[in-house]
């Protein structure tokens, strides 16, 4: 090195010593991550081992949490529920995914749309619709059955373990669908052609080539469904409690009742957390095994498999699934929302707008709850987007040592079920000095943490696609790194960031499982409102409010599709 040959070395030294203001920002982001992710998680752990009275180390909380048979039974119920729902969801999703991505089934676009519609239907809305459909005696399916057969009573009872399995599977199958289509779309037609020309027919090719290639993704989807099912709060609360059984989440809710036993809840939540972490690790390992990816880019086009007359059978199956998850539920939600009384049927004299009028203008908190949801949702989506892009940038440009650890922190909340996360936030920030319980802040912060992984995965993918030379060009011309981020990186990533924002905002507006533990009298969100109405049996008001929430989501979807393409919502979890 002959640096000494360069002139004005003193000036250079002075320049390099000057403080780079971007470090301030990076430090802030790191502090925020500690606050949002690390602290609640640590508090959760600590609380579970701390005596409520003395603050000393104890195992008494675990003894209390698992001291009774019915508490243990609730855990077993959760695992069974998760397994059954995931398997049933697989039965719904896999044929649909295959038909949509690999065959000439008619109505493939329609099927995709209906899966999307299912995906954006909150599980509690689906559960309520199915209570209207298959409630014992009064449920529409039972009434139709009685009418058709003249029997004493109908055979359907939603308030049962199988009922809960069906309802959960119907609204979580899109996860498997997303994973499976993503995998199938990586299998090039040439892979199948190669089996064909060596003598294998359509079915053998599917069995030996296509399915094995998609299998890790299908299993991964099943795992995600399983985790969704065991972490779900609303549907079990609406269905399992009347059916007189408990699952982990409903049991946790009871520990949170009067008096709040947060230390017992923290201890009780641990198995849920452990199971989730383990399964997520398994799922990651599985999708990574043997490099199950397309090997070469070229010649990887896909041609649909001609099903012949079978295409109508497959289409029929797709429509059957859609009937169960969309057509029937929405038909009867609409009926209830526009009815004076939902039990009185479809007659014109039963039509009314009073439910909408009531929830929008008369009810004390319903309209405000919608406003809260959108306010907290947009605040948390914005904060999470900023954190996600900042950390993703630090990680990919290797700006500080151990940057990967911060990337890990951003995706870590993915393995924390919403109810568990809420308990962590409660333990960390409800007591003084912050005493955030009952304020909007605790909800915003919890939502931010909960959806941060979605933002990070998206921001990270976007930055990876950006050539660092574009920023280096800014710096060579004298711009700072912050200027490069502001003038080059951010504008280039505008679309992806909008997408990430929407992907966090939409679920945040309907979040229940963490909100139910953290809301206060003045910070009710719409999901909590809907949950309360179902408790009171006000299905007409509830249906109206649920439909308002869905209607408000549509423009957001439209914006997302304009900015990012038709499938943006369905691609999110596959990444």
């Amino acid at each position: 090195m002959t640096v000494s040959a360069l002139p004005s070395t003193t000036v250079r030294a002075a320049r390099t010593r000057r403080f780079d203001p971007s470090w301030l920002l990076w430090t802030a982001i790191i502090a925020v991550l500690l606050f949002l992710v690390v602290s609640p998680f640590l508090q959760l752990l600590v609380t579970s081992f701390k005596s409520d009275k003395t603050g000393a180390f104890t195992l008494a909380n675990y003894a209390a949490a698992y001291g009774r048979d019915r508490y243990v039974q609730a855990l077993i119920n959760s695992l069974e529920l998760g397994a059954c729902s995931a398997l049933l969801a697989g039965v719904f999703a896999v044929p649909l995914a295959w038909a949509v991505s690999r065959t000439d089934m008619p109505g493939r676009g329609l099927t995709r749309m209906l899966v999307l519609a299912t995906f954006i239907t909150p599980p509690y809305t689906g559960a309520v619709a199915w209570i209207l459909l298959a409630g014992p005696n009064a449920g529409w399916l039972n009434r139709i059955f009685v009418m058709l057969t003249g029997a004493e009573s109908g055979p359907f009872n939603i308030y049962s373990f199988p009922g809960l399995v069906v309802v959960i599977a119907l609204y979580s199958y899109p996860y498997i669908f997303i994973f499976t289509t993503a995998a199938l779309e990586l299998v090039s037609s040439e892979m199948e052609d190669a089996a064909n020309i060596l003598g294998a027919g359509t079915w053998r090719t599917m069995r030996r080539v296509t399915l094995p290639l998609a299998l890790p993704a299908i299993l991964g989807g099943l795992i995600i469904c399983f985790l969704e099912a065991i972490a779900l709060f609303a549907s079990p609360a609406m269905i399992a409690i009347p059916a007189r059984f408990n699952v982990v989440t409903t049991q946790l809710f009871q520990f949170f009742g009067n008096p709040v036993r947060v230390e017992v809840a923290a201890a009780y939540a641990m198995p849920l957390l452990v199971v989730t972490v383990l399964l997520v690790v398994v799922q990651r390992l599985m999708t990574r095994r043997q490099g199950f990816v397309s090997l070469t880019g070229k010649g990887g086009d896909r041609r649909p498999i001609a099903l012949g007359p079978w295409r109508w059978a497959v289409f029929g199956y797709a429509m059957l699934v859609a009937t169960l998850s969309i057509f029937l539920p929405y038909l009867f939600l609409l009926q209830a929302a526009f009815a004076k009384a939902w039990g009185r049927g479809f007659g014109l004299d039963n039509l009314s707008l009073k439910n909408f009028h009531f929830v929008l203008f008369e009810h004390a908190t319903a309209a405000t709850s919608v406003w809260h949801s959108f306010l907290y949702g947009s605040a948390s989506a914005t904060v999470a987007t900023v954190i996600a892009i900042g950390v993703a940038y630090i990680v990919h440009r290797r700006l500080i040592p151990f940057a990967d650890a911060f990337g890990f922190l951003c995706v870590a909340p993915f393995v924390i079920p919403g109810v568990v996360l809420a308990i962590g936030f409660y333990a960390a920030y409800a007591p003084p000095p912050l005493a955030l319980y009952g304020t909007a802040w605790i909800l915003i912060l919890a939502f931010t943490t909960r959806f941060l992984p979605i933002g990070y995965v998206n921001a990270s993918a976007a930055i990876r696609s950006l050539n660092p030379e574009m920023e280096e060009a800014v710096r060579v011309l004298g711009g700072s790194r912050l200027l490069a981020v502001r003038k080059v990186v951010a504008p280039l990533l505008k679309r992806s960031l909008l997408g990430a924002w929407l992907l966090m905002f939409i679920p945040a507006t309907r979040e229940l499982s963490s909100a139910i533990f953290l809301y206060g009298p003045n910070t009710k969100v719409v999901a909590v409102m809907i949950f309360d109405m179902s408790d009171e049996g006000n299905f007409e008001y509830l249906a109206a409010l649920a439909l308002i929430l869905q209607a408000l989501t549509l423009p957001l979807l439209w914006i997302g599709q304009r900015a990012l393409g038709r499938d943006f919502m369905l691609r999110r979890s596959a990444t």
């Binding site: 052609d193 064909n196 060596l198 010649g299």
Partner: protein, 326 residues
């Protein structure tokens, strides 16, 4: 008897004619290339031979039996053919051995026989030591060898190759050309090879079908195609050439067929001036303009024939080297 006969085969996509009036007979054991620029219909033709798509017109016969016609096709899995794809289409969920053995399994051969044949063919392509590897652990060239082994091990009636070398780097591509020809000479499988690279076609093929815009321009042995191109397209596509207008006809004149010297040749001499030149190591590439002509000719000479730019020289043009083209 011919192995494979294509009679007036055509394929249309809506109003677009991808392949038109394609007729060709392949002798048993013959190696024929379909050569042409991208979009000329060569891959479409190959996929029709494989049975992946029916022809819109015409028929394809194998061993005297019609296997494709607009009214129906024997499906690919019953044609006893093999194909090597542009992406290789190696199944990433199976090991090298399982990939190669797949076709034999489908043919319900006993386990021991499958093992024996798989080992034998892997020896031939020098991949035996990687039998239990997964494809993701292989290099591009190794994947290519697996694809070759998988296609050949079933002893197909016809072997089809769809631009199999286009994903390889230049050195490997050159090596694999000879490899493909060597395997062909060893197993004598009737082969149809699709490529847009003329030297690939020249090295491997007994005959080359030059295609352009869905139609056959010329079918001949490589040396005939080069020496006696029938059309302007063929002359320009295979190697480099000069087009010379004489008496209202166009002639193709290869740069190698033109003599270049300082002294006037005994016959067929044309006086000219060196306009430009490039040194390419193995030869010189000169642009030489005959006096009175506007257009310079390309002339190739040996590396030792050095002429400065602007120098007066003599061209020697043998009329027999001028090939009339349409």
């Amino acid at each position: 008897m011919s192995k494979l006969i294509l009679k007036n085969v055509a394929r249309r996509y809506g109003a677009v004619e991808a392949v038109a009036d394609f007729s060709l007979e392949l002798q048993p054991g013959e190696f024929v290339s379909l050569l042409g620029p991208s979009g000329c219909g060569k891959t479409t033709t190959l996929r029709m031979i494989a049975g992946f798509m029916p022809p819109s017109e015409g028929t394809i016969e194998m061993d005297g039996e019609v296997i494709s016609s607009p009214s129906g096709v024997v499906p690919p899995e019953r044609r006893r053919m093999s194909m090597i794809f542009q992406s290789y289409a190696i199944w990433p969920n199976m090991t090298v051995g399982e990939n190669v053995g797949f076709g034999l399994q489908v043919r319900k051969l006993p386990r021991a026989e499958i093992d024996r044949r798989v080992d034998k063919i892997l020896d031939v392509v020098q991949m035996r030591s990687l039998k239990n590897r997964y494809p993701a652990e292989l290099s591009g060239g190794q994947q290519q060898r697996v694809a070759l082994a998988r296609a050949i091990v079933v002893e197909p009636e016809v072997l089809l190759l769809d631009e199999p070398l286009s994903n390889l780097d230049a050195n490997l591509r050159e090596e694999m050309r000879f490899e493909i020809r060597r395997l062909h000479d060893e197993f004598k499988i009737t082969t149809v090879y699709v490529t847009h690279d003329q030297s690939e076609a020249m090295v491997t093929s007994d005959r080359i079908v030059v295609m352009n815009k869905g139609r056959i321009e010329q079918v001949d042995q490589p040396q005939v195609l080069y020496g006696r191109p029938k059309s302007r397209f063929v002359a320009g596509f295979i190697g480099r050439t000069n087009f010379v207008e004489r008496n209202g006809s166009t002639y193709s004149l290869r740069p190698q067929s033109i003599g270049l010297s300082v002294d006037k040749p005994t016959a067929n001499g044309v006086e000219a001036e060196v306009v430009d030149r490039a040194y390419l190591g193995e030869h010189w590439d000169y642009q030489v303009r005959p006096l009175g002509d506007a257009k310079p000719l390309r002339v190739s000479t040996g590396p030792n024939a050095i002429f400065e730019i602007g120098r007066r020289v003599w061209l020697e043009i043998d009329p027999a080297a001028m090939v009339r083209v349409e």
